[in-house]
Subunit: 333 residues, 2 copies
């Protein structure tokens, strides 16, 4: 491990001169500078950032802590990265692995402290853990659940989005719409989307029959597919499906296709998140667009404000959504 002192010795100067050459802080004589650079090359020296970070009291790094790396969060992270980098900081992603059996708790508050700022996705994070996070560190919460007042928070207009999607399918002729992936449980994170579905049904004079609220074992395409197959097998009549996420919607689409039900002819289908793939999957999945760029901008904006020393009250942003109509609902293409 080559230290700055090694370079200094090789070049016959003090460590401070090496530091000044490398950081271009104080002016250094041309010949000295040349000798230093030569020694740096010869020894293959690279600065030890850990030491610099300790000394500086900051790491110039922002963490985005997500429940998993794929799909929605991966796409969101790609939006966040350039915004963070534009402020001259690095972005790293970490998982709330929440592997309780592991002795290592991934989301220790201490770990968050190594970052200058943290974007924390609250999906799959128990509120107790969240309560322990009382830190002065700039932090912005991201996700669809209620959080303590004092946190900055960006969430989606879930109810409004679910309402849009459901009302659209009703307008296009559906009368019995499943709420796939919603839960009857009031404390559940997908509650807002179920409420949006309910309201849309009621406003159209339709029943929001609890039998049409169909939970999924997990928020994957497989989970959506299996729940959908079960409904089909049960004989429950339906002519529309509102899926809580595009991933779940894809599973539903798969099940419908295998069962010989045509989309949108027999059943209309709409999802939530507007993932890139939803545009391309025939016949195109109608979806609630969550404006990932806007969410990323809002979150990074709040974070940056905190990192700049702002100490005003926390803000709670509800990012607007819009419906993108495609072929999986009638009139979509």
């Amino acid at each position: 491990m080559v230290r700055m002192a090694d370079v200094a010795r090789a070049a016959g100067v003090s460590v401070m001169t090496v530091s000044n050459v490398l950081n271009e802080r104080l002016p250094v004589g041309e010949s000295t500078r040349a000798r230093v650079m030569e020694a740096v090359e010869a020894l293959g020296y690279e600065v030890n950032l850990t030491a610099r970070h300790l000394r500086a009291g900051r790491t110039d790094t922002v963490a985005f802590v997500v429940p998993s790396f794929h799909d929605y969060f991966g796409e969101l992270a790609d939006q966040v990265a350039p915004l963070v980098e534009a402020e001259g900081r690095h972005l790293v992603l970490e998982r709330t692995s929440a592997n309780a059996e592991q002795e290592m708790e991934a989301l220790s508050v201490a770990r968050l402290r190594i970052y200058d700022g943290v974007l924390l996705s609250v999906a799959g994070l128990d509120l107790e853990t969240l309560a322990r996070v009382r830190t002065a560190k700039p932090i912005v919460l991201l996700g669809e659940r209620d959080v303590p007042e004092h946190f900055n928070h960006v969430r989606l207009a879930n109810e409004s989005g679910a309402h849009l999607a459901t009302a659209h399918m009703i307008e296009r002729g559906s009368r019995r719409i499943l709420a796939l992936g919603c839960s009857p449980d009031a404390t559940h994170m997908m509650t807002d989307r179920r409420v949006g579905w309910e309201n849309a049904c009621h406003e159209a004079g339709l029943a929001a029959d609890p039998a049409y609220v169909v939970p999924v074992s997990d928020y994957t395409s497989l989970g959506g597919r299996e729940a959908m197959l079960k409904v089909i097998a049960s004989g429950l009549p339906f002519d529309g499906v509102f899926a809580v996420t595009d991933i779940v919607a894809l599973g539903a689409l798969s099940a419908l296709a295998d069962s010989g039900l045509r989309v949108p002819g027999d059943v209309q289908l709409a999802g939530f998140d507007n993932l890139d793939m939803s545009r391309f999957i025939p016949p195109g999945i109608t979806s609630v667009d969550v404006n990932r760029e806007g969410v990323a901008e809002a979150a990074v904006g709040l974070l940056h404000r905190q990192m700049s020393g702002w100490t005003g009250p926390a803000e709670h942003v509800v990012a607007p959504v819009r419906l993108v109509v495609r072929g999986s609902t009638r009139g979509g293409a």
Copy 2:
């Protein structure tokens, strides 16, 4: 910023006693321990990991450096994470943002040094940058291109996979198969997949006409879709498409559907990567499965071996692939 010294003062003990309590290293008297814990709680103390890292000379953290967070790399990262965590280390993802206009070069060698080990995806990384990476740090390269001998490297059996997919479609009746997303350029990273396609064609006594090698503007579904539409508009006759990635294949599927071409009736379609979605997109996309779990295990295994002090010669793993047949090719369901 609460320091350990603050806790020590509040509890009326020395900093070492605080350290011993928190790390459970040396035994501490029960009453002392209680007072320390009380002070920790009262002050809301959290250990400064940067200082600990400097002192310890390691960070217990592994970085996976990827070109982008979504799709293939997001899914791979989810496989890598538990393997790294099983060894008691944290995993973080970083992007090779390669934003040249930014003054910040994301992939400075110094930055890699803050990690105990690095998994580095070489996709979208110029060889020059790679050559600069002469470090003692444990590092494993990941991706489809040639790299200097002295690096540990995990890549896929690209040629074999492309051959499998192409031969399968030929066997099922296709005679004019497009190589979508491949490039005629020999130095290109998708060369191996083009060669596999060529060989499969030749072995079946078919021409591997360069006109059937269709590049894409970028490896997205949109890129695949537009290239596909252009081919259709050109009138070039074809009855099969081998797409270099599932993402590109999805774009092709979209274009085929919009053009009234049935899959697999008029055109068979196969992709590469076997993303989760490919199983669910009707009629199911036949794809080359790259065994992400195996790739993750091989890469993390090599990395762990290096981190344990192994100094033998570098290994170059070629991960085997297999074809997963689905509805987008005949006989798939």
